[in-house]
Assembly symmetry: C2
Homo-oligomer: 428 residues x 2
């Protein structure tokens, strides 16, 4: 791994690929087709792209049972425990309505209510991660969303992976459709005979899915479109090189565009981690992916001080940050920008990916400066409420009318004044 001296600003913003215009056109056509022809279009695209002719999109109770029977009981227990942890943490995020009493029996409020319906996209094949099912579904359900639906592309035998069905059931979802790609996003946004439309679509997908989400945005809400994953590790010479290397590689194995960065005050650690990364790379099943990631987007930075390391990290605003130093807790207080922070040697990043209860859907590519990981707030909305009594109105309306006229909105002024008009014949 390359070792460089840390300068005050480092940036690992990878230039995103421009959307392929042919893909944009295809996605647009698919969406139009589904809007027009509903289920018929879904069956046709599923045959064309997933290679299977279905007669029914919905996963049956029998398919669910079969998935559980085929699944190792220990893994069911592990997923259930992870789900409980995620549920517990997200329940803590639930918020109460705000009720502000004003003078003269008036009040204003802020009513927080769940969305009606949410659709979760789950990719197919080896990218079908049961942990992502839990991470997307549980916050929606905890928020109180009444209807949470999964769509996912079937394999050639017309089935979904058992791990997805098991995770969905554990999360509490039973409305699952065997349809993927842009056609699934179109169905969620506009509805078909089988699939009622939803209000928000979340979950990762390939570039067709991402383009389809962009196109239906506005008709429905979507979650952020995530970039490749990234980690920064701040470490001093109390850290163990093999552990730091393993953590860097856990990120690198995701994607050739993933980025793994170590910022350390220890020259000794820097050199050892560099050697150790190479040693462990050769033993990794996904060596090819991880090697490409490390070569292109992996760096070890030598910092003059932890203060400098923190400053550079705040500039970077990484998705994941591990702090493996003396006084890691205190140091973490100085971090202003990161998606998630993992403190100390025993909190390596996969603890959060799978189990601790925090969400693993996190802002990438420096957007942690201004955005947050998936959470309860993503599945609720707030409605403000105003109630003015007659007495309150009487006291306040001249001010409101003056402010409206300052903006030359005479109609606004008349609206508040109209309650004082002589009614004459108007309501005889």
């Amino acid at each position: 791994m390359k070792i460089e001296k840390l300068t005050d600003t480092i940036s690992l913003q990878r230039s995103m690929e421009q959307a392929n215009i042919d893909h944009v056109t295809t996605v647009h056509e698919v969406i139009s087709d589904v809007k027009e022809n509903g289920d018929q279009a879904l069956f046709a695209y599923t045959e064309k792209w997933d290679g299977v002719r279905l007669s029914n999109l919905k996963v049956s109770d029998e398919e669910m049972e079969e998935a559980f029977l085929s699944f190792e009981p220990q893994l069911v227990e592990d997923l259930k425990e992870a789900a409980d942890n995620i549920r517990l943490f997200h329940e803590k995020q639930i918020r109460q309505n705000i009720d502000l009493a004003l003078e003269k029996n008036s009040y204003i409020q802020y009513r927080i209510s769940p969305l009606d319906a949410v659709g979760l996209y789950v990719p197919g094949g080896t990218a079908a991660y049961p942990s992502s099912v839990l991470m997307n579904a549980i916050p929606a359900l905890v928020a109180g969303v009444n209807r949470v639906v999964i769509v996912s592309p079937p394999s050639k035998d017309g089935k979904l992976p058992a791990s997805v069905l098991v995770a969905a059931k554990i999360a509490g979802i039973t409305e699952i459709y065997k349809v993927g790609g842009a056609q699934a996003i179109a169905a969620l946004a506009y509805g078909t005979e089988s699939i009622k439309p939803v209000d928000k679509i979340t979950g990762p997908g390939n570039s067709y899915v991402a383009l389809a989400k962009r196109e239906v945005f506005g008709k429905v809400a979507i979650d952020m479109i995530a970039g490749p994953s990234e980690i920064a590790i701040i470490a001093d010479d109390t850290a163990f090189a093999d552990e730091v290397a393993a953590d860097l590689l856990a990120q690198a194995e995701h994607d050739p565009f993933a980025s793994s960065v170590l910022i350390t005050t220890s020259e000794r650690l820097a050199q050892k981690v560099s050697d150790e990364v190479e040693r462990q790379l050769q033993l990794l099943p996904r060596e090819e992916i991880a090697r490409a990631s490390i070569e292109n987007y992996g760096r070890i930075y030598l910092a003059e001080s932890l203060h400098q390391a923190v400053k550079a990290t705040n500039e970077l605003a990484p998705e994941h940050l591990e702090i493996i130093t003396e006084n890691a807790k205190e140091l973490s207080e100085q971090i202003r920008h990161a998606g998630a922070i993992f403190i100390g040697r025993y909190s390596s990043e996969p603890v959060g990916d799978y189990f601790a209860g925090t969400n693993h859907v996190l802002p990438t590519n420096s957007t942690a400066r201004f955005s947050s990981g998936l959470n309860i707030d993503d599945f609720v909305k707030k409605t403000s409420v105003v109630y003015y009594s007659k007495e309150m109105w009487q006291e306040q309306y001249p001010k409101i009318a003056r402010l409206a006229r300052l903006e030359r909105l005479e109609g606004h002024a008349r609206s508040v004044e109209s309650r004082s008009w002589e009614k004459g014949l108007l309501n005889d």
Copy 2:
């Protein structure tokens, strides 16, 4: 105004104009130019489009003082009172960090922190609304954003409207730049010699500004791009026709694309409101705009029951909803989708536009189904934190490793397992 029978689903989604491709190109060029040439580009575009050659972008203390001196003291008082009300309500929205203690001295957290810097766009000329300055700036400042900046295009004399400067000062903003259009958005996103970049840009603007916000989205966060304003009023025969008509027109005077809808169970009220709208239209300074809006997007719907009216309103998900009926408070509890609800005769919509304390930046075009008005949450972000002790890690890591291997992410499994590896020569 047209009177129709209410069917169960009404929709007033106006087809948005497609972005003009020439505008897209212009905006792209402007942004590139500002990125490359900084202030020089800002001065050049300001001369070209605003017709004034500036030598300095920042509003001076003298200009601020001059604005206050030119302003009616009563209006300063009105704006201050409005600002206090907005501040009070938004302070209620401030949230606390979440701290969840786990077993074995471990914990997970959710740290809520303000964005570092926010830029607020304020349109020029007659569209420079001091109330919008308060509504955008105060939530950011209450959220704890350290730096809140205003950009606004100067008039030909090189000045900004006194009302904008006065409202900014009352809100607590003193960093104000005389620059507008796409060039101002580019400066906020990328920074120039005079203007340091921000993390989020909010506030309304013309189509160039909206296109520029879309283009810089990702580099910085942006607020929603609002469509034309709309109101729905649910009224029974206890409502006064002249008041309902005035409220419909207050919305219609905004924009020819604004939409004003009355849903009533009273045929008598329907007819009277229709007549009264025509009568009041003829007296309105902005008659032309309001008439176009009423003719194209104004409707009176006759409902069979209040139940049917509520159902249709929830389908519509209007930006603003007034309920002027008997038992309006109880009826409001049945509303699931609206940006803001105004209850009873004395809470006409301008009460919220200017004064009550709720925010007037609200979701339009049925997006209240899944989004919220501007609020404190728009100016904070959440960072999750995981701390596992050695004992906790020891108990949990085999589960985490199993879940990682279920997803064929061997590197993730090794990351949590590495803490148990014999270190041998690795850290000698």
